[in-house]
Amino acid sequence: MPELFGVSDILDVISMQHFVQNMVSIPLIQPVIDFLLQIPVLGYIVALILWKPMFALLIFPGLMTLLTVLLFIIWFERKLTARIQWRKGPLEVLRWAGGVIQALADGLRYFFQEVIVHRDAHRLYFLQFPILIFIPVLLPLLFIPAGTIVGIKSPYSLAITVAVVSLIPVFIVAIGWASNSRFAYIGTVREAFMYFAYEIPFIISVISMILVYGTADMVTIVERQAIPGIILNPIAALVFFITTVMATSRLPFEIPEADQEIAFGPFVEYSGIMFGLVMTIAYEKMYILSLLMSILFLGGGNGPAIPLLGDISGVIWLFIKAMAVMVSLAFLRSIYARLRLDQALRVSWTTIMKISLVSLAIGVIINLTTVGVVG
C-alpha cells in the first residue's frame, strides 16, 4: 500500500493528535499532563512519551525500567546474598539507603575505565558484539504487554519474543569467538552446550502454555488468565523457571561463565565499559524472562485495578510480579553450588525433558477440554 506513505499520512502519523488518541491515562496526574500538553514543544514531547508504544519502549517495560531494574537487581542480589551470608553487603556508598546506588558507582567506574582490546582479539567484532547484543535484548520488550500498554500488538508476539530471546546465546558465542582466548573458547563451547540443554524444554513449556490459552498473543494470554497459568499448568511453570535459571546462567547452572573454573568464560578479556555491557546481558535476559514468566504464569498485568493510576496500575502489577520472579532467581545464588556441564546436560535432557513433556500433555488436555469454552 504505497499510498499510505504519502506526506499527509506521515504528518498524520507524527501529529500530536495521533499520539493523544492512544495515550497512557493516569488519572492521578491527569491535570498536570493536560497542562503540559498545552505548552507547544513540551506538550508534543509529553504526548510522544505517553504514547503507548513509545511508553512501552522508553518507560515500561523498556529502557528506563530496564536500567533501573539492572541497577536495583544487582544491588539487591548482592544485598540478599550478603544477608544470607551473615554480613551487610554494599552499604557505605549511601548509608541511609543501604547503599542502594552501589551498582551506579560500579557502572561509573566501568564507564571511565580504560577499554583494553588485546592483540589477539578480532578488534571489530570484539567491540561491536557487546553493543549489537542490545537488539535481541530490547526487541522483546516491545511485545510484552503491561496491562493495556503494549508496543506492538501481534498474534504471534509470544513466538517472536521467544525466538528473539534465543538469539542472545548466538551473540555470546560470537563474543567468545572474537575474544580469541583459551578460556573464552572453553566458555563459548559451554554456552553452546547449555543452549542446547535448555532451549528445547523451554520452548516445550511455552508451547504447552500456548496450548492452554489457545493463542500466542500475549495480550490475549493475559486477558484469559482468570486463573493464573501457574495453577493451570504448574509443571510447565516449573520447567519454565528451571530453564530460565539455565538460560540466564544463574547458579546452579552458572556454567558458561564459571569464574573459578574458566574465569568468566566468553567475557574473560573484556574490560571497562565493554565488560559492563556484557556483564549485564545475563541480567537483561533475566528481566525479559521474568516478564515473560509473569505474563505466562502469573497473570501479567492482572490484579486489583487502582483507579487513580489508570493504565499504570497494570504496569505496577506486572512489575511487582516480574520482580518477585527475579528475586527468587537471585535467591538461588546463595543456595546452590555450580553443577558440571555434563551434569547440567544430563539433568536437562532426562529429568527436565521428561517433565516438560508432561507439561505438554497437560497443555494438550486443557486445550482439548476448554477449546469450546474459550476458543
Binding site: 546474598t81 544470607i84 551470608q85 551473615w86 554480613r87 583459551r182 572453553i186 547458579l251 546452579p252 552458572e254 556454567i255 564459571a258 569464574d259 573459578q260 573454573e261 574458566i262 574465569a263 545464588r333 546463595s334 543456595i335 546452590y336 553450588a337 555450580r338 553443577l339 558440571r340 556441564l341 555434563d342 551434569q343
Partner: protein
C-alpha cells in the same frame, strides 16, 4: 655468587617467554595429538598461588603437571642462619592458619633433642591451640572448596565461623593468626580461666552454626553431585603416592600421627579417627568435617582437664634452669636469656606432627656446637600430597579440577615453604 644481594630482574615489558617447567616435547606431543593445553593460575580465580599445566582432550584431563614454587620463600636456607628460637615464627609461616600444629612440630623436635619434659598444663594448652588451628584450617579449606564450586555462602559461613576461633586464639596468644605461642618447654603465657571458658563456649557456637552449614553446603545436592566419585584415589594409589592426613584416611588408611605416635596429651583424651573407603573428593571433605567434630570434643575434654589444674607452671624447668622460679608461669623478661643460646646435641632429630592437612615432618640436624641448626628440613603436608593430587586429576573433567583442588585443600604457601 656468594654474598649476592637479591636484585630484581623483571623486564618492564611483560615477558614474552613463558618459562614452563615441562620439556618442549610435552607441548609438541600435545599439539600433535590434537590436545589442548590449558594453564591454570597463578592469576586465575580458581587457583591458588601455583600454576597447573593441563593437557586436555575434549573435556577430559589427560595429564596434569604442577608448577609450584610461586611462594617458595627459602625457609630451609634461612633457618640455617638463625637462632633456634628465631625459627619459630619462620616455620610458622608455611601455613599460618594452622599455627598451633605447625609450630608444635618444630618445637617438639627441639624438645626431643634436649630431652625436655613439658608440664602437664602446657601440654593441654598446646593441644587446645593445635585443635583450634585444626578446626580453623578445615573451615578455611571448606570455604575455599565452596568458592571453587561457586557456592559463595559456603565460603562466607566457614570464614564467619573462623572468626570466633580467631577471637579465641587472640585471647589466648594476643594475635589473630600467627600466634608463635608455643615455645620449647611450654607456652609463652598462662591462659586465664576466663579465656578457657570462652574457648569452651566457642565450641558450642561452632556446633550450632555448623548445623545450618551442613544443610546449605555439606548436604547440598549440587555439592554432592559435584564431589561424589570425582578424583578417586584408591587405597593402594594413596599409599603409593604418599598422600597424607585426612586425604589418606579418606582412602581407607587408618593413619593419624596423633594416634600412631601420640604426643602432647592426645593419649589421655578420647577421640576417634574418621576414615572412609571411597577415596573420592566428597569423602575427603566429609572426613575433615568429621574431624572438626572430633576436635571440638578434644577441646572440651582439654578445658575440663585444665579446670582441675592449678594455674601457673607452663614452662618446663628443664629448659628454664636457673630462671625456673621466676619464669615458670610467664616467660616475659627472660625470653632471650633462656632461649637465646640454645644448643642442640649432635645428631638428627625428626618429629612427626599431625597438622590439619596431614603429616608434617621436621628434621633438624645439629652439629652439637653452633646455636643455629646445621640443616633444618621441613616437609609440609601440601608437598606430600601434591603428587597424589596430580594423579587424582588424571581422567577427570576440566571442571572437576576445582572440585579436586578444593577437596585436597591444597595451599601452595604451605607446600612451597
Amino acid at each position: 655468587m656468594t654474598e649476592r644481594e637479591v636484585v630484581l630482574d623483571v623486564p618492564v615489558q611483560p615477558p614474552t617467554d613463558l618459562f614452563l617447567p615441562i620439556p618442549k616435547k610435552f607441548l609438541e606431543e600435545a599439539y600433535r595429538g590434537d590436545d589442548y593445553v590449558v594453564l591454570v593460575g597463578p592469576q586465575h580465580p580458581g587457583s591458588g598461588h601455583m600454576r597447573l599445566i593441563l593437557r586436555i582432550k575434549g573435556d577430559v584431563i589427560l595429564e596434569a603437571i604442577p608448577d609450584p614454587g610461586y611462594v617458595h620463600r627459602c625457609m630451609e636456607k634461612l633457618a640455617e642462619n638463625r637462632l633456634y628460637i628465631q625459627n619459630i615464627p619462620l616455620f610458622e609461616r608455611p601455613a599460618i592458619m594452622d599455627t598451633g600444629n605447625v609450630t608444635l612440630g618444630y618445637v617438639r623436635a627441639i624438645e626431643n633433642a634436649l630431652d625436655v619434659e613439658v608440664p602437664e598444663r602446657a601440654k593441654y594448652i598446646r593441644m587446645i591451640l593445635a585443635e583450634l588451628s585444626r578446626i580453623g584450617t578445615h573451615l578455611y579449606d571448606a570455604g575455599i572448596l565452596a568458592v571453587f564450586l561457586g557456592h559463595t555462602t559456603g565460603f562466607m559461613w566457614p570464614f564467619a565461623l573462623r572468626e570466633p576461633i580467631v577471637e579465641a586464639i587472640t585471647r589466648i596468644s594476643g594475635v589473630r593468626v600467627t600466634s608463635s605461642f608455643i615455645i620449647p618447654g611450654g607456652v609463652r603465657r598462662d591462659v586465664p580461666w576466663k579465656t578457657l571458658e570462652f574457648v569452651r563456649k566457642t565450641t558450642f557456637v561452632l556446633e550450632k552454626r555448623l548445623k545450618s552449614f551442613e544443610k546449605i553446603f555439606i548436604r547440598n545436592p549440587t555439592v554432592i553431585e559435584r564431589l561424589k566419585d570425582v578424583g578417586v584415589l584408591s587405597k593402594e594409589e594413596a599409599i603409593k603416592f604418599g598422600v597424607v592426613g585426612p586425604f589418606l584416611r579418606a582412602s581407607g588408611v587408618e593413619y593419624d600421627v596423633r594416634a600412631v605416635e601420640p604426643y602432647e596429651a592426645y593419649d589421655s583424651v578420647s577421640w576417634e579417627i574418621p576414615i572412609s573407603d571411597h577415596g573420592d573428593s566428597y569423602s575427603r571433605f566429609l572426613v575433615r568435617v568429621e574431624e572438626i567434630a572430633q576436635s571440638i570434643s578434644i577441646i572440651r575434654q582439654a578445658v575440663n582437664e585444665l579446670r582441675s589444674m592449678p594455674e601457673g607452671n607452663i614452662i618446663s624447668e628443664d629448659i628454664l634452669q636457673e630462671y625456673s622460679e621466676v619464669a615458670s608461669s610467664d616467660i616475659r623478661g627472660f625470653f632471650f636469656k633462656v632461649f637465646g643460646n640454645l644448643v642442640l646435641p649432635s645428631g638428627e632429630f625428626t618429629s612427626l606432627t599431625e597438622a590439619a592437612r596431614g603429616t608434617l615432618l621436621y628434621s633438624i640436624i645439629s652439629d652439637g656446637e653452633s646455636n643455629i641448626p646445621y640443616r633444618a628440613r621441613v616437609i609440609t603436608p601440601g608437598w606430600y600430597y601434591l603428587k597424589g593430587f596430580m594423579e587424582a586429576l588424571r581422567g577427570e573433567r576440566l571442571a572437576d579440577l576445582q572440585a579436586i583442588y578444593g577437596s585436597f585443600g591444597y595451599f601452595p604457601p604451605e607446600a612451597d615453604r
